[in-house]
């Protein structure tokens, strides 16, 4: 019998062995960081902000949790509530703490916990300081909407500004404004760059161009075609008012900040702060799968390299694999603990799949992905993907039939009017596109958040603000919470507010809420 000689880990330890025991120290962190940098930047071609790695305790991690992961934050009771909640969960052992938190700033700050073993620190540095960092720096959404250089400075300003307001106007007054602003946070983002108002010269220019165009296409024959007598549209007061207020407006916080008649300057400034924060986090909501997928894929490939080049001991590798698998675990839909699709799993799965398609494609892949199949440049492909896509478009573009079969995805149709649910597409030839589209839609924030717009203000009359919820597929708002939010809006606006639910398909009114009067409005 031939028994292969086992090599104990200590014997494999060479001078280059970076990670073997559980203990870490600052020098080793630095060396591991440098080794990972060589791989991630040198081999994978990642492009990252300078890293700043901060070592914190478990308690500080809890602190960071409750201020939405930011190193500084203004004070508000909801953060205290979150802290209390997390603390109970943590102390009772229901929930572990994240190994890291990473902040989209320049330099990119990653928090790592002191309790982590050296192997975990390696994983965390590869994951956060390179994976997330690359994504933050390169993805177009982050480039367009966030300013990594100034966010910490802005938070510093926000914190001291709100503290000053509390000093001057009292806790209670500030708290009420913040409560109201937080309630509207999900509807306080610009989804598109706003159109600039034209100035006079541009308007003239446009008018000229329009005339030239009219002249160039003028044909006398049209004059002879009988048509409807064109009645000039009466100058519509309502339409003019709407244009002047730039309605409809879906960024509720922005509208209230700019237009609400009775707010004090400091109250407007607080709305503005909360709105900026919402905007800062907006890309993160849209790229959860990609962001985590990118980080997970990078850490996986990095530690693979480290291990292969003998810089990682077997024990450390096993520990890393153990937590890696825990992170990318996906339960089946019928498992009692199923709680939705794990973004780590989906992102990591799809990126591994892209690598496979780029290097060893099947005929099916060539048919589905002619542009990338077999192009032999997996990292280049991935870098492009990370740069240009968000979750919705990423899934729509790159979820392959191969992966859908592997994940056994299926689509369940739920019509509230039917007694039963229908499986109307599964992972087969007929269903791939449908399943993929449905999954992509579930990552579209535009569809996940209710579409609420301010449509009119009766400025001449009782100044009532009218909001429309444009219902998609007949899905209504949660009424009780909606009323609470309306109350906040009414307080900010200072006059009554009405919400109407409208079917987006045919503009029929499906439900009208009663007018909500301001209770104790801000003045």
């Amino acid at each position: 019998m031939n028994i292969p000689a086992l090599t104990p880990a200590t014997m494999r330890a060479t001078p280059e062995m970076l990670v073997s025991g559980p203990d870490w120290d600052f020098d080793r962190l630095r060396r591991v960081h440098d080794a990972i940098e060589k791989i991630a930047v040198g081999q994978f071609g990642l492009d990252v902000y300078a890293n700043q790695i901060e070592v914190i305790t478990a308690e500080q991690m809890l602190d960071a949790y409750s201020s939405i992961g930011m190193p500084l934050m203004y004070k508000h009771w909801s953060f205290g509530k979150q802290f209390a909640q997390n603390e109970v969960m943590y102390r009772k052992g229901y929930r572990g703490l994240a190994y890291e938190i990473v902040i989209n700033s320049s330099p990119c700050i990653s928090y790592v916990m002191e309790e982590n073993s050296m192997a975990m620190q390696t994983l965390v540095i590869a994951h956060a300081a390179f994976g997330h960092n690359h994504f933050f720096k390169n993805n177009q959404l982050f480039r367009q909407w966030t300013d990594a250089d100034s966010i910490l400075g802005y938070l510093d300003f926000a914190k001291s500004y709100i503290a000053k307001c509390e000093e001057r106007h009292g806790h209670k007054a500030v708290e009420r404004v913040l409560d109201a602003a937080h309630a509207l946070m999900s509807h306080g983002v610009h989804r598109y760059p706003r159109k600039r108002l034209l100035d006079l010269r541009q308007e003239e220019k446009r008018e000229r161009e329009r005339q030239q165009y009219q002249e160039s296409i003028y044909n006398d024959i049209w004059r002879t075609v009988p048509g409807m007598a064109d009645a000039p549209l009466p100058p519509d007061e309502a339409a003019r008012r709407k244009t002047r207020l730039r309605l409809p407006e879906e960024n509720l916080l922005y509208f209230l900040e700019k237009v609400a008649p009775r707010l004090q300057p400091w109250q407007r400034e607080i709305l503005r702060i909360v709105r900026h924060l919402a905007q800062y986090f907006y890309p993160q909501q849209q790229t959860k799968v990609m962001n985590e997928g990118c980080a997970t894929f990078v850490h996986y490939k990095t530690v693979e390299q480290l291990y292969d080049s003998g810089q990682l001991s077997e024990g450390a590798m096993l520990e890393i694999l153990d937590s890696h698998t825990a992170v990318v675990r996906q339960l089946d839909f019928d498992h009692p603990h199923y709680s939705g699709i794990n973004p780590y799993w989906l992102g990591f799965g799809m990126m591994s799949d892209i690598m496979r398609i780029a290097t060893e494609p099947t005929d099916e892949d060539r048919a589905w992905f002619p542009a990338i199949a077999g192009n032999g440049d997996p990292w280049g492909t991935l870098r492009n993907v990370w740069r240009d896509y968000r979750d919705e478009s990423f899934v729509l573009q790159f979820l392959s039939p191969h992966l859908m079969r592997k994940m056994k995805l299926f689509r369940l149709h739920d019509d509230a009017d039917e007694r039963e649910l229908t499986v109307n597409a599964i992972h087969d030839e007929r269903g791939y596109r449908e399943v993929r589209e449905a999954l992509a839609r579930s990552y579209d924030v535009g569809l996940q958040e209710p579409d609420i717009q301010i449509v009119d203000v009766d400025l001449a009359g009782d100044r009532r603000l009218v909001l429309h919820h444009r219902q998609r597929a007949g899905i209504p708002l949660e009424a009780e919470d909606a009323r609470r939010v309306l109350r906040h809006i009414a307080n900010l606006w200072g006059y009554p507010v009405r919400l109407v639910e409208v079917d987006a398909g045919n503009d029929r009114v499906t439900r009208e809420y009663e007018d909500i009067e301001p209770r104790d409005p801000f003045v």
């Binding site: 409750s66 739920d414 039963e420 229908t422 449905a438 998609r472 899905i475």
Partner: protein, 426 residues
């Protein structure tokens, strides 16, 4: 790349948020604390507590889709046997067909659980009793060992450096090692300059050699050496520790209702709290009585009922017996609190008063009598017999207080007597 060690940063970064949160939930927390205090033993009122409060004021609303209604598609992983066209029964509640979409934190929204620290609990507990701030401070005063100056030591923090001592040591060392002083040096330099002017080459050379030697010696022997450093030393001085015993006397006959007992219990809790802040070691003795008295444990004391008449003096006798047996007044501070609804058999009043006046009051630091009644009791009702009997003991300077308590907020005034500097009979 930078690595920053943040572990030593000040803790409690979210403390301000927590205070705001507690303030927000004040009303609910007060209720919860009240309930918790009811369920607690007299001696462990000052522990932290895991409480849960309703979500009412803590809701953070936002516009979001309802869980039900409309047409939706769900994509789910792990298909096992479905093919296109299969019908699936709607899952029983909520979830909209997405399998189990239960909220991740389990319980749902109506209850919010978290832990109050000991201090926070106490704060709210005391607030409920409407203690003035001064009293609160006295109750909550934590015991720090006092530090007193105790000579000098060779180690310590820079702030406690003793300059005089250090320089004295430096001086004696410099003298012992014969460090050239500044004036010696200047003197030599003057002579050197003179010699140079006088053109005495030999003298110049010898003086220069000496000058170099002096300089070298000054360098070798420093002005202040770590050896010289002396720090003021402080020593923790233990405060004198006294022990106290607290007697809880209560009438448990049928006429005492639950709410009366609850009032009494709160008073006992407060007294205990006060004593534990004052004394290192506090023992509690529970004596209940009907027409006869016995020493019982806390559970029995508060929660079991007895039937029988009411003879107060039996409890006082029992207290006297326990004192004699276990708590010699020389080494124990004795406090007693008696709670009753004021009933007593009329022939017993005299005996009770004599017992108190002659025996117990001289032994005790303080004797508090609270007469509990229900809130709706008529205020104009005549005083009870026991009240009338005890009234004769109320004289200036006596260590006895008596109060009628109808509501929780009434409890404190009794306490004010205890805290006031020159104790006046109420």
């Amino acid at each position: 790349m930078d690595i920053v060690d943040r572990r030593l940063n000040p803790r409690g970064k979210s403390l301000a948020n927590r205070q705001r949160f507690l303030r927000r939930a004040r009303r609910h927390i007060q209720d919860a604390v009240r309930d918790a205090a009811r369920g607690r033993g007299v001696a462990d009122v000052a522990e932290g507590e895991n409480i849960s409060i309703p979500m009412d004021d803590l809701r953070e609303p936002s516009f979001h889709h309802a869980g039900e209604g409309g047409v939706r598609d769900h994509v789910l992983p792990g298909n096992k046997q479905f093919v296109k066209g299969d019908k699936v029964p709607r899952p029983p509640s909520g979830g909209g067909g997405g399998g189990s979409q239960g909220s991740p934190d389990g319980g749902g929204e109506d209850e919010f659980r978290f832990v109050l620290s000991k201090d926070e609990f106490l704060d709210i507990f005391l607030e409920d009793l409407e203690l003035p701030d001064l009293a609160k401070k006295a109750v909550k005063q934590t015991e720090f060992p006092a530090y007193a100056r105790a000579g000098y030591s060779v180690t310590g923090s820079p702030a406690s450096l003793s300059l005089v001592r250090t320089l004295r040591h430096s001086l004696s060392r410099r003298q012992a090692l014969r460090r050239p002083s500044l004036s010696e040096l200047e003197d030599l330099e003057a002579r050197l300059a003179e010699a140079k002017a006088g053109d005495d080459a030999e003298l110049v050379i010898s003086l220069e050699a000496e000058h170099a030697k002096l300089l070298a010696r000054r360098k070798r022997i420093p002005f202040i050496d770590p050896y010289d450093l002396r720090y003021k030393r402080f020593e923790p001085v233990p405060k004198p520790i006294a022990q106290a015993v607290m007697f809880c006397l209560m009438d448990v006959s049928g006429s005492m209702t639950e709410s009366m007992k609850d009032l009494a219990k709160r008073f006992f809790m407060l007294l205990h709290l006060f004593l534990t802040r004052r004394y290192k070691h506090v023992e509690v003795v529970f004596i209940r009585h009907t027409h006869e008295a016995q020493e019982v444990d806390e559970q029995t004391f508060f929660y079991s009922t007895e039937t029988g008449g009411t003879v107060v003096s039996t409890a006082l006798e029992e207290m006297k017996r326990v004192i004699a047996k276990r708590y010699p007044p020389g080494s124990w501070n004795i406090y007693a609190a008696q709670a009753s609804d004021g009933d007593n058999s009329s022939d017993d009043n005299g005996r009770a008063v004599t017992l108190l006046d002659q025996v117990l009051l001289p032994l005790s630091q303080y004797f508090a009598y609270i007469e509990v009644g229900s809130e709706d009791k008529d205020w104009t009702a005549p005083d009870t017999e026991l009240w009338n009997a005890y009234k004769v003991l109320r004289k200036p300077g006596a260590n006895m207080a008596m109060r009628k308590v109808r509501r929780r907020a009434d409890i404190f005034p009794v306490f004010r007597d205890l805290f006031s500097r020159d104790r006046q009979a109420a």
